[in-house]
């Protein structure tokens, strides 16, 4: 009854189902400052992700999609193939500023934020400079200097780690309050604890660290783990066996077992070039009266009767 069906390529839809806070959708005071989606560099992956700037770029929101297979929407009198549900949630702009500040910080100079937050690939990042919350909290991750009413900053790793530690702690509180199960053994899709889970403080810290790591670079995530005094769990990737290396040769690649070549007329058995010591000693052995192993597999030849 169910036949294999071909799936056509996804077509772009012109509408989306979004859950967003009122603040994000507040259309504003001037026309050119409406809320807008924009691509920025994801501080965790380094690739592009979608964000939303609120009215007047005063605040930034991250965009996450709930997407599962086999979902579509019925919207009014239409069907939408894309069954995604987009969540627009407020985000601390400092997470987005951090990669720019920390990369410049290695040069060890005080610089103005404007100089630091520049990105050819993501020109939209300059809009982060409008987010007051981000600018006001720069001192959490950088040293500040003020010259001629102009502020200059220099990345400070210790400060950053201390700031992130606070974030982790606040996340732990939120996890506890939200009754979110952080234990390793719990994999229920309902995320509701059946019994009281005795998750240790370390479970919470680790879980929160993992969550915060979704917003920072991998290196910083490792530093933060140390700063939180959590031992690193060896990743399962390292436990993999080393891959066997195939010897390279100039000869064209042939299948290891190609039986077709035995069928060709010009097939000739070539003597092996090199023999191991064991093979050599075997070769010297007296073989008179012995049948070769191969003969057992060859078609039976009728013995001539005398």
């Amino acid at each position: 009854m169910t036949s294999k069906k071909k799936r056509s390529a996804h077509t772009e839809s012109d509408s989306w189902v979004v859950i967003a806070p009122d603040s994000a959708l507040d259309t504003g005071r001037s026309v050119d400052s409406d809320p807008s989606f924009i691509k920025l560099k994801n501080p965790s992956t380094g690739s592009s992700s979608l964000y939303l700037f609120g009215c007047g770029d005063l605040s930034v929101y991250e965009v996450k999609a709930f997407s599962e297979d086999f979902r579509s929407w019925f919207i009014g009198q239409t069907v939408q193939r894309d069954g995604r549900l987009l969540y627009v949630t407020p985000m601390d702009p400092l997470f987005l500023l951090l990669p720019y500040i920390s990369s410049v910080g290695k040069e060890g100079k005080f610089q103005s934020v404007k100089q630091m937050v520049m990105d050819e690939d993501y020109p939209g990042c300059s809009r982060l400079l409008q987010c007051k919350q981000g600018l006001d909290s720069l001192h959490h991750v950088a040293d500040e200097k003020e010259v001629n009413d102009q502020k200059y900053h220099k990345y400070n790793l210790e400060k950053t780690l201390e700031w992130l530690k606070k974030k982790v702690q606040r996340t732990v509180n939120a996890l506890k309050k939200g009754n979110i199960s952080v234990g390793g053994g719990v994999k229920s899709s309902t995320f509701v604890r059946v019994k009281h889970e005795d998750a240790s403080e370390e479970d919470y810290l680790r879980y929160a660290h993992g969550l915060i790591s979704e917003y920072i670079s991998e290196d910083l995530s490792k530093d933060l783990l140390k700063h939180l005094e959590l031992p690193e769990i060896s990743s399962p990737k390292e436990a993999e066996p080393p891959s066997k290396k195939r010897k390279l040769s100039d000869k064209p690649v042939e299948a290891g077992e190609d039986y077709t070549k035995f069928n060709s007329a010009d097939f000739a058995r070539k003597p092996p070039k090199k023999m191991t010591a064991a093979q050599k000693s075997l070769a010297k052995a007296d073989k008179t009266g012995m049948k070769s192993l191969a003969s057992f597999f060859s078609p039976k030849v009728k013995q001539e009767k005398n």
Partner: protein, 307 residues
């Protein structure tokens, strides 16, 4: 025949019945079971039972009930009226299985096939007769396919009742003929006066016999095929006729219990097939990106870069 109970909601299964004659509660009775509308792609399937005291079998014969298939529609109507008038000793009950119910049963995740559906409808009706106090001694059933298995099933289910399952029982036993007339009349009425739940405007009711091989039925199916929703509930979606048309004419719909090949399905779902883990070259996304935290993966949340 008053079908108003069924017409109130023609998307589910509905039971209609006559009153139970008093004589049936005191005397040993025989009961016949037959169905109408098993094959059509349109409309409900109706299961009917008829019962009367064993001693009154001759009276039933005198009503000249015969296999419903040999009768014209008008003759069937007349006979049903006669049966209904003989309510002093003849009782009947019907189970109308709506096309929607047939579709949803057969197409649900744990498949419930038409035979099981039919058997359960028959069992339900016999149980109804027993529950109503009918002194059942003999049950005659018309069967399609292997009669023995069905007979064993019914005998086990109703110990103390002699069950006879026989092909063409509707022409052999008057009580089965009577049941077949009840079922057929109900089906005719239900189809003729079908109230479409869908807003189809003036529905063209010229759908022929409703059997898949009827060209009129086929063209009606084509006419009322909606690319998104398929058909009105009047159509049995589980029929291959309906499915073939849907496959070729309607928008493709994927359900998560559709069977698909592992590798292909994985590619489509944008994740990595298990097989790829065994190959030497891992897909690039596995080698240099960190795993997304389980808070997000468990909740199926992803960052996106396009709308």
């Amino acid at each position: 025949m008053d079908l108003s109970d069924f017409e109130a909601d023609n998307s589910v299964s509905c039971r209609l019945s006559s009153s139970i004659p008093d004589v049936c509660k005191t005397e040993d009775c025989c009961l016949g079971i037959d169905e109408a509308g098993r094959g059509p792609v349109l409309g409900p399937m109706v299961y009917g039972i008829c019962f009367c005291p064993v001693s009154r079998k001759e009276d039933l014969k005198n009503l000249k009930v015969a296999d419903s298939k040999t009768l014209t529609e008008a003759e069937r109507e007349n006979l049903f009226v006669k049966l209904d008038e003989a309510k002093s000793f003849v009782g009947w009950a019907l189970q109308i299985l709506s096309p929607n119910m047939i579709s949803t049963s057969m197409l649900q995740r744990a498949k419930y096939n038409l035979n099981a559906l039919s058997h359960d409808a028959a069992i339900g009706l016999v149980q109804y007769a027993l529950d109503s106090g009918v002194q059942l001694k003999e049950v005659f059933v018309d069967t399609v396919g292997p009669a023995e298995k069905y007979q064993d099933k019914l005998s086990q289910r109703f110990p103390g009742v002699e069950v006879t399952v026989r092909p063409k029982a509707d022409s052999l036993f008057p009580i089965v003929s009577a049941a077949s007339i009840c079922a057929k009349v109900a089906r005719d009425h239900a189809v003729k006066s079908w109230k479409f739940a869908e807003d189809l405007g003036d529905v063209d009711t010229d759908y022929g016999s409703g059997y898949p091989n009827d060209p009129k039925t086929k063209s009606w199916l084509l006419k009322y095929l909606d690319p998104v929703f398929g058909y009105p509930q009047f159509v049995r979606f589980s029929w291959s006729t309906a499915q073939t048309l849907l496959d070729s004419k309607a928008v493709t719909v994927h359900w998560d219990d559709d069977e698909e090949d592992g590798e292909k399905a994985a590619a489509r779902q944008n994740n990595t097939s298990v097989l790829s883990y065994f190959s030497r070259n891992k897909p690039s996304e596995l080698t240099h990106t960190r795993d997304i935290h389980r808070f997000f993966t468990e909740r199926k949340l992803k960052s996106i870069n396009t709308l």
